[in-house]
C-alpha cells in the first residue's frame, strides 16, 4: 500500500506540471494473490504488485488519454506529456462538458487488514480443507482462492481528490466425480467471512446428488434458478442494456421503452454503489459520487447509468458510473441488485410440479438480439429434475435460449435471501441476486454430460 497522502500528493504534483486546460489523474494499484487448484492440488499460485496511472488531458474539447504502470515521477511526466500531445492531435468532442467538480464523497469501510495480509501459506491451508473433505467421498476439487488489497484515487485540476483503499476475497469451488459436478462460491471484502468447509460441503453435496445424470429433452420448463444463475443473467443484461452507450445507440432493451412495463410487477433492478451489504465503492473513475439508479421498478423501465459525457448528451447529470479514462464503453453499472421477495429455494422446489433446479449457467452470450435481451447459455455443475415438489435426480446439461423480457415477466417466486455474486468487475462491485422461480423457461438444446 502506498497510502492516501502519497498518492494524492504525487498525482496533484504531476497535475501542477500540466499545460492542458483541464487534467485528470486516476490511480489504480495494489497487491493481490491467487491460489488456484485442480485435481485436488495447487497447480498455480501467483502474486503481483502492479499499478496503472491514467492521465486525461483536455485542451478545450480535445481530449487525450495516456497511461503508465510506473509511479516514478519521470514516467508520470512522460505519460502526462503523451496525453497532452494526443489531445493536440485530436478532434473536438462536442459532448465533453469539462471535468467534474469536487463533490462530497460518502465515507465507507472497504478495507480489512486481515484480508490484505492473508498469506500464500494461509490460502494453501484453507484450500487443503477442501481437498480433505472431497477425498472422503472419492471426489476431486478445482477452484481458486484470491485475496488482495488495492487503492483507487481520482484527482483533477477542478479540485476532485478522492481516495479509497479496498480489500476483497473470492473463492470458487468445483467438485467433480465420475459423471457429475457441484459448485459453490463466496465473495467478500473480509476473509473472516469465508467458511471454506461449509462451501466445500455444498459443492460436494451437489456433486453427489447429481451423480448419474439422466438425459432430458429440451423444451419449456419451470426453473428454480439459484442466485449464481440469476446473477449471470443479470450480468449480461447489464452489459447490453443498463449502460448509457447501448441506451443512447438504440441497442439496449431499455431504449425507447422508458416508462413502459417490460417485466413482471415483482421485478425491481437497481444499482447502488453505496450499499455496504455488498461490494460497495463510493465514487466513479471521474471522482463523481455514485448515485442509486433504478433500471426496472415494479416491472417498469426506469433509466440507465451515466458518466459525465453521456449525461451531457442526454442533458442529465452524471450518476457516478464512469469507467476508466481510456474506455469508450460509456457508463456501466457495477453494483447491481435485484430486490428480494419472500420465498426460499426450498419453497420454490416444493411448489414445482415438474421443473428444473439450476445451480449456475456457463458461457452466456447476449449479443444475438439485444433489443429483446435474448440470451443463450448452458447449465453447469448441478442441474436437477424436480417432480411433485421434490428433487428427483440430476440431469445432463441443457442449453437455454430465452428473452429476459419474457423470463423476468414470468417470475413466480423470489427468495428473501440474496447472495453476493462475483462479476467481471470484482474489487469494486458485484451482483446481489436472489433465487427465482421462473415459469416456462425455454431450453433449446442438450449436451452429452
Amino acid at each position: 500500500m502506498i497510502g492516501k497522502e502519497k498518492i494524492l500528493n504525487t498525482l496533484d504534483s504531476a497535475l501542477k506540471d500540466s499545460d492542458a486546460d483541464q487534467t485528470e489523474a486516476v490511480y489504480i494499484g495494489g497487491e493481490s494473490g491467487l491460489t488456484r487448484f485442480a485435481n485436488s492440488t495447487i497447480h498455480q499460485n501467483v502474486f503481483e504488485v502492479n499499478s496503472k496511472i491514467y492521465f486525461r488531458a483536455a485542451l478545450g474539447k480535445k481530449i487525450g488519454v495516456a497511461s503508465t504502470n510506473s509511479f516514478i515521477k519521470a514516467d508520470l511526466q512522460k505519460a502526462l506529456s503523451n496525453a497532452i500531445e494526443i489531445a493536440k492531435n485530436q478532434k473536438e468532442n462536442p459532448d465533453f462538458p469539462g471535468l467534474p467538480s469536487k463533490q462530497a464523497i460518502l465515507s465507507l469501510n472497504t478495507h480489512f487488514e486481515k484480508t490484505a495480509r492473508f498469506s500464500p501459506i494461509q490460502r494453501a491451508q484453507e484450500v487443503k480443507k477442501i481437498f480433505d473433505k472431497a477425498k472422503v467421498h472419492d471426489l476431486t476439487a478445482a477452484g481458486s482462492l484470491s485475496t488482495g488489497e488495492s487503492e483507487i484515487a481520482v484527482v483533477n485540476t477542478k479540485g476532485v481528490a478522492c481516495y479509497q483503499p479496498l480489500t476483497s476475497t473470492f473463492i470458487n469451488i468445483v467438485v467433480t466425480g465420475d459423471n457429475s459436478s457441484g459448485y459453490a462460491d463466496y465473495l467478500s471484502r473480509n476473509v473472516d467471512d469465508v467458511d471454506v468447509e461449509n462451501l466445500a460441503q455444498i459443492a460436494i453435496q451437489k456433486c453427489l446428488d447429481s451423480k448419474d445424470p439422466q438425459g432430458l429433452e429440451p423444451g419449456e420448463y419451470d426453473v428454480v434458478l439459484e442466485p449464481t444463475a440469476v446473477a449471470s443473467l443479470l450480468e449480461w443484461m447489464n452489459y447490453i442494456g443498463f449502460g448509457s452507450k447501448p441506451f443512447q445507440e438504440g441497442t439496449s432493451f431499455l431504449s425507447n421503452r422508458i416508462g413502459k412495463k417490460i417485466m413482471g410487477e415483482n421485478i425491481t433492478i437497481y444499482d447502488d454503489g453505496r450499499d455496504q451489504s455488498a461490494i460497495a465503492f463510493p465514487f466513479d473513475f471521474e471522482g463523481v459520487p455514485k448515485e442509486k439508479v433504478s433500471f426496472v421498478e415494479a416491472g417498469v423501465a426506469k433509466g440507465v447509468v451515466y458518466d459525465s459525457i453521456s449525461a451531457h448528451k442526454d442533458k442529465v447529470k452524471s450518476t457516478g458510473h464512469a469507467l476508466t479514462p481510456d474506455s469508450s464503453d460509456g457508463a456501466l453499472a457495477l453494483n447491481l441488485f435485484i430486490q428480494g421477495g419472500d420465498s426460499s429455494v426450498e419453497k420454490m422446489i416444493k411448489s414445482t410440479e415438474r421443473g428444473l433446479l439450476v445451480t449456475r449457467f456457463h458461457y452466456i452470450n447476449g449479443l444475438i438480439d439485444t433489443t429483446n435481451a435474448l440470451l443463450t447459455g448452458m447449465t453447469r455443475d448441478g442441474t436437477f429434475l424436480i417432480e411433485k415438489g421434490k428433487i428427483k435426480h440430476g440431469v445432463k446439461n441443457l442449453r437455454f435460449t430465452e428473452s429476459m423480457l419474457k423470463a423476468f415477466s414470468n417470475v413466480a417466486q423470489i427468495s428473501a435471501d440474496r447472495k453476493l455474486v462475483n462479476s467481471w468487475w470484482a474489487d469494486i462491485g458485484c451482483v446481489v441476486a436472489p433465487a427465482m422461480l421462473m415459469k416456462n423457461f425455454k431450453f433449446t438444446g442438450k449436451t452429452e454430460f
Binding site: V46, K91, P120, N256, D326, L374, R399
Partner: protein, 480 residues
C-alpha cells in the same frame, strides 16, 4: 535490464530452486476509436514489469512486480520461492518438466510501416472517412471505426541457461455500422466483428484492408437487415464464411486441444474438454476434409512468435489430420503425460501472469474448392457471415453461434437475407458433416485479440487461418 535479469537468475540458482525463469516485458499500446464523426477514445498505454516463475520443493510459485529495481527483483524471487513452498503443502507429486533445447536467440516480427510512426491525424482520418460513408443512410445510428497497435519487447531467461529476446509488433482495425429502427437494431462489421482483424504486422496491414471500399456495403446490409425476417428453424446445408470459421475453429478445436484444459486445470473457470487422452489417434473428430494445425511459425499471424514463454521454439503441429484427432497443444509440464516434448504453446498475456497453454495460429488447412464453385454446387442452404454471438458448453461439445447475416442459397445463387441467425451442433458430429473447404486463394489468417483463459483472467492474441467451408444437415434458427 539484461544485467538485472542475469543477476536474478544467479540469485535463484544460489537459492537452489529446482527450476526458475525470469520474464521481463514492456508493452506500448495505442487505441483509437471513432464514432459518428467524433473521436470516441484515443489513448496510449505504456506498461512494463517482470515475473518470476519458480519450482521449489517440487511445486510452482510465481510472483511479479512493476518495480524493476535490483532489490525488488530479489524480493520477488524470494516471494516466488515462498509461494512455491506454500503450494508444496498440497502436492501429490513433484512437478517435472520435459527436456528441451536451450536457446540463446533474438526474434523480431516483420513489418513494413511502424504504426506508432504514422501520424495520428492520418489514422483518425481513415476511420472518420469510413464513418462518413457509413453514416450516409439515416437508419445508421452508429457508424464506428477502431484501430489498435501493440509493440511488445520481452526477455526470457531461465536457470537452465536460456536467454531469448523478442520484439513483436501487432496491428488491427475494423469498421462497424449499426442500423436502428424503433426497437430493432442490426449491425454489420468489416473485415470482422469484435475489433476487426489483427496481424503481427505493421500499418501496411491496415492499409491493405480497404476499409473505405467496404463501408457502403456494410451500411446497406445493416439497413437491409432491419426489415429482414428472422432465420426460421430448420436443418440445412450451411456455408460458413472464413471469419466465422475462425470462431468455429477457436471454440470447438482450439480450446479443446489445449492439454492443460484436458488435464483439468481450467475446470473451475471455462471447464474441461471432451478430447480426453484416450481419444488421441482414435477419435474421428471430423470428415476426411478436415485437417487442423497449430502453427506458430506463420508469417504475420497474430499467434506467431519466435519462442513461447518457456523458451521453446515456435512450431507447426497437426491437431486433426484428415479427420483423425492426432495432437494437442502442449507445455513442458503437460507433454510428459504423453511422453512427448513440448510443442511450444505456453504464453502469458503480460509480465504479471504465468504462461498457460494458449492457441497459436490454429488453422483449418485449405481444401480444393473455388468459392464460386462451392456456391454453385449448393442447391439449397445458407451462407453465414461474421460472428455475432458465441456460446459452448464446458466440455466444448454443444455450441450455439450467432452471425450478423445469413443469406439463403437457392440453386447456387444468393437469395434473401435473414437476421438474428444462429446455428447449433455437437462438435464432432458437426465437423464430420463437413464436405467442402475452399482453397488457399480464399484462405486468410484471422487475428483474434481477445481470447480469455485462466485465473486471474488473461486475454491472449491468437489467430486462425480459415476459408469458406460447407457443412451438411446443420440445425439453424433456434433462437426463439
Amino acid at each position: 535490464m539484461e544485467d538485472r535479469i542475469n543477476e536474478t537468475i544467479d540469485y535463484l540458482k544460489k537459492k537452489k530452486v529446482d527450476y526458475a525463469d525470469v520474464r521481463h516485458q514492456k508493452t506500448c499500446g495505442e487505441d483509437i476509436k471513432v464514432k459518428n464523426g467524433n473521436v470516441d477514445a484515443l489513448s496510449r498505454n505504456d506498461n512494463q514489469g517482470f515475473g518470476i516463475r519458480v519450482i521449489a520443493q517440487g511445486a510452482w510459485g510465481f510472483a511479479a512486480s512493476s518495480i524493476c529495481t535490483e532489490e525488488e527483483m530479489k524480493r520477488v524471487a524470494d516471494q516466488a520461492i515462498q509461494i512455491a513452498k506454500a503450494s508444496a503443502l498440497t502436492k501429490r507429486e513433484n512437478v517435472k518438466l520435459t527436456e528441451t533445447e536451450i536457446h540463446k536467440d533474438k526474434y523480431q516480427s516483420q513489418y513494413s510501416i511502424d504504426p506508432f510512426a504514422v501520424a495520428i491525424d492520418k489514422k483518425i482520418g481513415l476511420l472518420l472517412d469510413a464513418c462518413e460513408i457509413m453514416a450516409k443512410n439515416q437508419k445508421i445510428k452508429v457508424a464506428e471505426g477502431s484501430m489498435e497497435f501493440f509493440r511488445t519487447d520481452k526477455t526470457f531467461a531461465s536457470t537452465e541457461g536460456a536467454y531469448v529476446e523478442q520484439s513483436i509488433l501487432e496491428s488491427g482495425a475494423g469498421i462497424y455500422a449499426t442500423a436502428v429502427d424503433g426497437s430493432e437494431a442490426q449491425r454489420r462489421s468489416y473485415p470482422n466483428s469484435h475489433g476487426g482483424d489483427y496481424a503481427s504486422r505493421g500499418y501496411e496491414f491496415v492499409e491493405e484492408m480497404r476499409l473505405l471500399d467496404n463501408a457502403e456495403r456494410i451500411r446497406e446490409e445493416a439497413v437491409q437487415l432491419l426489415s429482414a425476417d428472422p432465420l426460421p428453424e430448420m436443418e440445412t446445408t450451411i456455408i460458413i464464411s472464413g471469419n466465422q470459421m475462425a470462431l468455429q475453429v477457436h471454440e470447438s478445436c482450439g480450446h479443446p486441444t489445449e492439454l492443460d484444459r484436458v488435464l483439468g486445470t481450467e475446470i473451475s473457470l471455462a471447464g474441461g474438454s471432451f478430447l480426453t487422452t484416450d481419444k488421441l489417434n482414435k477419435l474421428k473428430y471430423g470428415s476426411e476434409k478436415v485437417t487442423i494445425t497449430a502453427d506458430a511459425t506463420l508469417p504475420g499471424g497474430l499467434g506467431s512468435f519466435g519462442y513461447d514463454d518457456e523458451g521453446i521454439k515456435a512450431q507447426r503441429v497437426d491437431l486433426v489430420r484428415d479427420g483423425l484427432f492426432v495432437g494437442y497443444q502442449t507445455s513442458r509440464e503437460t507433454a510428459l503425460v504423453l511422453n512427448q516434448r513440448s510443442n511450444g504453446t505456453m504464453r502469458a498475456d503480460g509480465w504479471n501472469r504465468i504462461p498457460l497453454i494458449r492457441m497459436t495460429n490454429i488453422n483449418l488447412e485449405p481444401g480444393e474448392w473455388e468459392r464460386d464453385d462451392l456456391m454453385k454446387d449448393t442447391k439449397s442452404g445458407l451462407l453465414l457471415d461474421i460472428n455475432k454471438s458465441w456460446s459452448i458448453d464446458d466440455k466444448r461439445l454443444n455450441f450455439q453461434f450467432g452471425v450478423e447475416a445469413a443469406w439463403e442459397i437457392k440453386d447456387g445463387k444468393l437469395g434473401k437475407i435473414y437476421k438474428n441467425a444462429v446455428y447449433t451442433g455437437i462438435t464432432p458430429q458437426f465437423w464430420n458433416s463437413c464436405d467442402a473447404v475452399c482453397n488457399r486463394k480464399h484462405w486468410h489468417i484471422w487475428g483474434v485479440p481477445n481470447c480469455g483463459k485462466g485465473e486471474p483472467m488473461q486475454v491472449m492474441h491468437v489467430a486462425h487461418g480459415t476459408s469458406p467451408t460447407r457443412f451438411r444437415n446443420v440445425k439453424v434458427g433456434v433462437s426463439k
